[in-house]
Structure formats: structure tokens, C-alpha cells
């Protein structure tokens, strides 16, 4: 089982996000770190913020995109890793 499916995530505290200039801009108000996501990244972020559970996010993406499930899992995992490293996502312990 992918590690993605085993833990939930949520936007870190102090992170605000909005679609601006054609991409999703994420900004950590505490650290000043910001990040831009393209259309597909923005959709992943929106689903992560809404659902929290990466497994459910992959299921939702599968309905939208023609990509295979393993590909979607890899893409989501890579995005979660980057955003977590930048302090924009954090593990949801609840």
C-alpha cells in the first residue's frame, strides 16, 4: 500500500491560498514561504484541503483524469512531499 494512503494531511496553520494570475498561490503567513501550483496541482491541493485523505483524493482524480491510478498516486505523493517540506502541508493527526 502506498504511504500516501496511510496518513492524512491538511494545509498548515497560517497557510492561505487563492487562485491568482492563472495559478493557485499558496502563502504561509508565518514563514513567508509561497508556492504556485498549475491547474492540475491546484486541483490536487483543493482536494487535499477538502478531503484530507490522499487515498480519497486519488479516487477523485481518477474520475477526472485519464491517467492511471499508480501515476496519479506518484504525482500526488511528489506534490505532498514538496508541500510538506515547504511547510505548506502538515500531517493531520486527528
Amino acid at each position: 500500500m502506498s504511504p500516501l494512503r496511510t496518513r492524512k494531511v491538511r494545509p498548515a496553520r497560517d497557510v492561505v491560498f487563492r487562485e491568482l494570475g492563472g495559478e493557485m498561490v499558496l502563502l504561509n503567513l508565518h514563514s513567508g514561504v509561497y508556492y504556485g501550483l498549475n491547474e492540475s496541482g491546484a486541483q490536487m491541493w483543493t482536494l487535499l484541503a477538502e478531503l484530507g485523505d490522499p487515498a480519497r483524493v486519488v479516487a477523485a482524480l481518477e474520475r477526472e483524469y485519464a491517467a492511471s491510478r499508480p501515476q496519479l498516486e506518484r504525482d500526488l505523493e511528489a506534490l505532498v512531499a514538496v508541500l510538506t517540506e515547504k511547510g505548506l502541508l502538515e500531517a493531520d493527526e486527528n
Binding site: G21, G22, E23, V25, L27, G32, Y34
Partner: protein, 381 residues
């Protein structure tokens, strides 16, 4: 006999500026393929319209070629993030001021960007401008300072004395705070001279009417002698996108003695942009046309704005006032102490009236080229 319309000095944009101008127009036109985007973006950056130009090039059928430096995209994103921060912080500050019983209104800023361009990322913004009535300035400054903001100008001046000052177009007081590692600059404005009643009316109505806000932007344009390209682009987009009641606008301008400023603004805009301004409105405003307006009262928006001498600044501002009573009020206004005068000599509270003497002494120095109120280029809000 037909009256010859008053026309502003005609500045012709250079070739690159011409492409930037067309890209920034309400109905944009992309430059031909042989125009390389790098110098175009650099020029847009210099004219303070980079986010709009970058976005429009990016969105165009032509798109941005691979060879464009990724630094431009990063710069665009940094501006978007900063504006997002400004937007969030502005909302938070308005709530904080409301909780402290301070009526306040945002001026320009992200709200304007969203209205004119549909996206707060498409306009550059350096600070958060807020209007507060003079009587509420002490409470506003106290609330901002309690929130961690620190004054960068008018440091140590009692807020009540500051509230009694006024300067054209400048805030006279700026505060800064680091939010998430980014400095956020806040400028409270307590006078919107020479249309001081605009802010009070807008507060009473819980917001500017489109006509009053347009007049305020015209005033802003006049403060930089119509030489700030970004402000002209804002105004052009306003005319194209925000419905204006022209009858009401011209009547409001006439009532407030701002018909001349409105006329100059519209004529300058029509020189650069293809806009639907009713001929009847222009004809009506022609009655307020300046008989003599110094040529340097209207600057070239494609050239760096060079400050006028204090005497030339006051001559221009005086010439823009169309009513005798406004000219007299301007002369009286010149005698009033500014925040800078108060800061020039610290006096005990009971002797505050002496700051008027300081003002007059500095004004006397003005005749020799010192002690002036800031010239427009230095006075941007």
C-alpha cells in the same frame, strides 16, 4: 464660434512603450512576433505594469517563449503572493480597526485590482492605504501600534497633533510590520485633499460610489502630474469596465471644483487609449478648461517622473483649482503646519501653536528653495 478644445501636451511613446501601452489597454493588442518579450517585460517593470503585461503575454495565443528567463515567472508569483498577503492583512486590519471603534475604508490596493482586472495578482502594490477620519486617527494609530506596527515616519509625534495636520496626497504617517518575513507597509490617510469631503462621504455611505472613487483616482493621477503610467492604466480600465454615470460624474466634479482635474484626466487618457467617453461630458467639462496651465503640469508617463521645484509644484496645483475659493483655500492650506513641520521642532503640548510659526519660517525658506511640501514625485501614496 466653436470653442477649441483644451488638449494636454502630447507625449509620443517610443516603440517599446507603444507595445506596452497596447498590451495594457482594456482591449489588449499583442506585439508582433519579432518583438522579443524580455525587453518588453523589462520596460513593463520600469513602468510598474509588469504583472498585467506578463499575464497578458502569457495568456495570449502567442504565449511566452521557452527562452524567457524563469525569473520573470518568479517575479510574477512573488507579486501575487505579496498581494495575497496585502489582501488578507487589509481585511484583518479593517476588522481590527472596526473592533477598536475606528471607521476606516481601503483606498485603491487589492480591492481596486480585483475590480479593474478581475484578479489581485495583476497590479503591483507596495502598501495598504486606509482612510480614517482625522478625529479617529489617534485611535487608529493606537490600534495599529498595539498590533505590532511601528511608525517609520512621524515617529513620536502625538497622534492628536498629527491629526490636525494635512498634506496633499501624502499620508504624513507610515507604519510597518513584518508579516511572515515580508514587510507590510500601512499608510493611514486622514485627508484626501483637495477633495477632503470625499472620504467622509464614502465612510457615511460605507463605501465610495463609482463616481466618487473615479474622482479620487483622478486626483491621484493629478498628484503625479498624470505622469504615472500605472494610474493611467487603472483609469482606462475603470472607464472600460466599471459603469460610470457620466452626468453624475461631471456634476459631482463641478460641485467639488474638480471639473478641471477631471477634464485634464480624460483628455490625457484619450490621448493614449481608445475609450468611450461621451462627447457631451467633455464639452460640459471644457467650461472648466484651464486658460493657462504650465506645460510641466502634465508629465510624460513614459519618462521618469522628475520632481518639480516647490514653486513650480504650487503653481501647477494652484492653476488646477478652478474656483476662486479653492485657490484661497489652497493658499491658506500652504500656511498650515505639516507633519514634517511638527517633526522639525519638538514642542510641549501647550505650545503646539508655535508649529505654525515653524511652518511659516519654512515656507519663507521655500522661496529660497527649501522647506517645501513634498513635490508630487515624492508624494505618492
Amino acid at each position: 464660434m466653436a470653442v477649441r478644445p483644451w488638449l494636454p501636451p502630447a507625449y509620443r511613446p517610443g516603440e517599446l512603450d507603444h507595445h506596452v501601452l497596447r498590451l495594457c489597454a482594456p482591449e489588449p493588442v499583442c506585439p508582433p512576433l519579432w518583438v522579443h518579450p524580455e525587453p518588453l517585460l523589462e520596460r513593463a517593470q520600469a513602468l510598474d505594469v509588469f504583472p498585467l503585461v506578463f499575464h497578458r503575454l502569457h495568456q495570449s495565443l502567442r504565449g511566452l517563449p521557452e527562452k524567457v528567463s524563469p525569473a520573470w515567472e518568479e517575479r510574477f508569483r512573488a507579486n501575487a503572493a505579496r498581494n495575497l498577503l496585502h489582501d488578507i492583512e487589509q481585511q484583518r486590519l479593517l476588522a481590527r480597526l472596526a473592533a477598536a471603534g475606528v471607521p476606516a475604508l481601503p483606498l485603491k490596493g487589492t480591492r481596486l485590482a480585483a475590480r479593474l482586472y478581475g484578479d489581485v495578482a495583476l497590479r503591483s502594490q507596495v502598501d495598504i492605504d486606509l482612510f480614517v477620519p482625522p478625529r479617529s486617527l489617534p485611535a487608529a494609530l493606537a490600534a495599529l501600534e498595539a498590533d505590532g506596527y511601528q511608525r517609520t515616519t512621524a515617529v513620536g509625534l502625538p497622534a492628536a497633533r498629527l491629526a490636525a495636520t494635512g498634506d496633499e496626497f501624502t499620508s504624513g504617517c507610515a507604519l510597518v510590520k513584518a508579516v511572515g518575513g515580508m514587510p507590510v507597509l500601512v499608510e493611514p490617510h486622514w485627508r484626501l485633499l483637495p477633495l477632503d469631503d470625499l472620504g467622509h462621504e464614502a465612510l457615511a455611505a460605507q463605501g465610495f460610489s463609482p463616481e466618487l472613487e473615479f474622482l479620487y483616482l483622478c486626483l491621484q493621477a493629478s498628484s503625479d502630474r498624470w505622469g504615472t503610467f500605472k494610474t493611467l492604466v487603472d483609469l482606462a480600465h475603470w472607464i472600460a469596465r466599471q459603469p460610470l454615470d457620466w452626468e453624475r460624474l461631471t456634476a459631482q466634479a463641478e460641485q467639488r471644483g474638480a471639473a478641471r482635474i477631471l477634464l485634464v484626466t480624460l483628455r490625457v487618457l484619450l490621448h493614449y487609449f481608445d475609450l468611450a467617453v461621451p462627447e457631451a461630458a467633455l464639452r460640459r467639462l471644457e467650461r472648466a478648461a484651464p486658460r493657462v496651465l504650465p506645460r510641466d503640469a502634465v508629465a510624460n508617463p513614459f519618462a521618469p517622473l522628475t520632481p518639480l521645484s516647490p514653486a513650480a509644484t504650487h503653481r501647477s496645483r494652484y492653476a488646477l483649482r478652478e474656483r476662486r475659493r479653492d485657490r484661497l483655500a489652497y493658499l491658506a492650506f500652504l500656511l498650515r503646519p505639516t507633519a514634517a513641520d511638527l517633526g522639525a521642532a519638538s514642542m510641549p503640548a501647550g505650545l503646539g501653536f508655535l508649529s505654525w510659526g515653524v511652518r511659516w519660517l519654512r515656507l519663507a525658506g521655500l522661496l529660497e528653495g527649501s522647506g517645501a511640501r513634498p513635490a508630487p514625485a515624492e508624494a505618492r501614496g
